[in-house]
Amino acid sequence: MSETGVQSAAIHERAHEALQDAHLQGAYRSSTLRLYNHRLTAIGEVPGFEPLRQRGRELKREVMDHLDEYLAQFADNVERQGGKVHWARTGEEACAVVLELVRKAGAQEVVKGKSMLGEEIELNHALEAANIRAVESDLGELIVQLSGERPAHIVAPAMHKTRHDVSDLFANKLHSEPTEDPERLTAIARGALREVFAKAGVGMSGANFAVAETGSIVTIENEGNIRFCTTAPRVHIALVGIEKIIPRLSDLGVFLRLLGRSGTGQKLTSYTSILTGPRRAGEDGPDEMHVVMIDNGRIATLADEKMREMLYCIRCGACLNACPVYRKIGGHAYGWVYSGPIGALVTPQLAGLGPARELPFASSLCGACREVCPVKINIPDMLLHLRGQVQERFPSPRPVNSPVSERRGIRLWAWVMKRPWAFALGGAVARLGSGFLSRSGREGGRRWITKLPFDPFSNWTDGRDFPAPDPAPFRARWKKMSE
């Protein structure tokens, strides 16, 4: 498990940079709102979307309760269909398995379909290090690969890029003529990819679902590139997180309806492929199909009762689009592969709470994520749980420019709140202090403080005024009101 890749401590700086970048703000605002609204329209068209979410949730629970059995069933059926199953405990093990398969296939080039798991295990780095050329064939993934970035969004990796950015990038890396016409930009990418598809000895994909009953993997997409990756090259390698299992083929309908509508507002994505083993004699398709089943922290989460629901996620990205924090700070601020509310759960679970401990706090806990989640993951509740874990396991942050650590501050707060006289006295002291700090508001009435001393209070007044406590608190006023 690689912990070095996560840089959550820098989230504040990156959030600041994102907020200063009007270009980036515009890109995130328009894209997230578009997807958010498409989802609303799409779910409005289906009667009974609520029961469907409940069904999806129940199916996921069933899978997690019996994951060992379903995994064994899936593996048996893959092999029965002529595929080969490989198990990897960590990202490194998974990369090693893939490298070995690519070597055996004698391939110098690998063409890849979009896979968040591939990003998670940093497979491209491992392939590059072994002098194997890996080319992303999803347009968004190609864009982030060419610009040396991580995906900015789970389903729209290049959400942060405008047409103008892509034009510059392609001109620079693919030596194309600048154009801001999306169709021409797509044609440029397609032209560059054709040659790779023709040459690559190995095609790689992720999997949206792995069907235990049939040993099939299911991929959904809009560009057709995954279908190309999984059928044209001689060898197909699929990276599958162990949580991707669904019990039966008949359950697929539930998830397809949930995923397309939640992610992009589509009834179905343009392509849905159900891949069951390699090609049969006399048919098209890859000679070999390898399925790499990857744990990389998932089993530990399965054992964690409070966090287990995280494994229900079908990676639709709806929570990112709905999240007011994600819309402001963007995907890269989260410092790893997964971003947004689900990223703030997944990153600490898979990459370690230590390096990711800023993330659970990057939420106003507004609950918009839970409202849109197709499998009703209680994200705010789990963020609260992780906040508790952070405070239990790690030294309390010492805010800059503050006389005490956060924990001491909270202990003092609790001491005061347990004593009504201390609370009243605290109010009196605050009124006295604010007498010096505050000035009359614009329209008289309430007095306002424009600069408070000490972090975290000074953080408030960096962008807002703070109301001075009222000269007569309610407890004093009540005496005149009591019957």
Binding site: G388, A414, R464
Partner: protein
Amino acid sequence: MGNHPPNVALFITCLGDQFFPQVGESVVRILRRAGARVTFNPAQTCCGQPAFNTGYREEAREVAARMVDLFEGVDYVVAPSGSCTTMVRVFYQELFADEPELLGKVQQLQKRFFEFSEFLVKIMNAEDLGASFPHRVAYHDSCHLYRELGIETEPRKLIRAVKGIELVEMKDNRLCCGFGGTFSVKYPEVSVAMAEDKVRAAAEVGAEYLVANDAGCLMHMQGYIHRQGLPLKTLHLAELLEMHE
């Protein structure tokens, strides 16, 4: 209850007590007008949410445990805050999950604990409190009130009953204002940027007043509006229900 007026204890909330005492006065007068007998226990302080929200469960538990004894013998407890009501009704369940004895008492409290607008409409069957306010007003659904307690129609019913008022809905009206408890000081820039969006949405529909039921959201939005020198004004729902213009 029979023919006796219900006994209602006010939970003013820590922010309400110190920063919005006039809201508490309005709540008391409105509850009385609606037919309740109102009491106030001065031993009350805070529900414990600031510590809970930041991950300090033990400190939150210590403060929250006091709440159980403060309101014994009353029919109802009413708070002018969706967030503090959520703390008691939703999060106490989890906070006291390992203490069966206390949890029983907590559940007794939860059954009697109501948010102000919810209590007026659902329990007192009161909608028209006789206020008049000929202004254009936008209502902000605070997140805990709307998403945790599912209260969205009650405040709107109360607002619509005000004579002369024009209630307008903001675009994306369920979007968080950015307060989020300690989020407001842990991610202050993001928090303020979210307030900016909210205030802009209110301005876009031509609202003169932005009404909400939570001291935290109001403090945050008001603080942003004041810093920016904007003409928009904020009101707690209880204050609105006492307007006679």
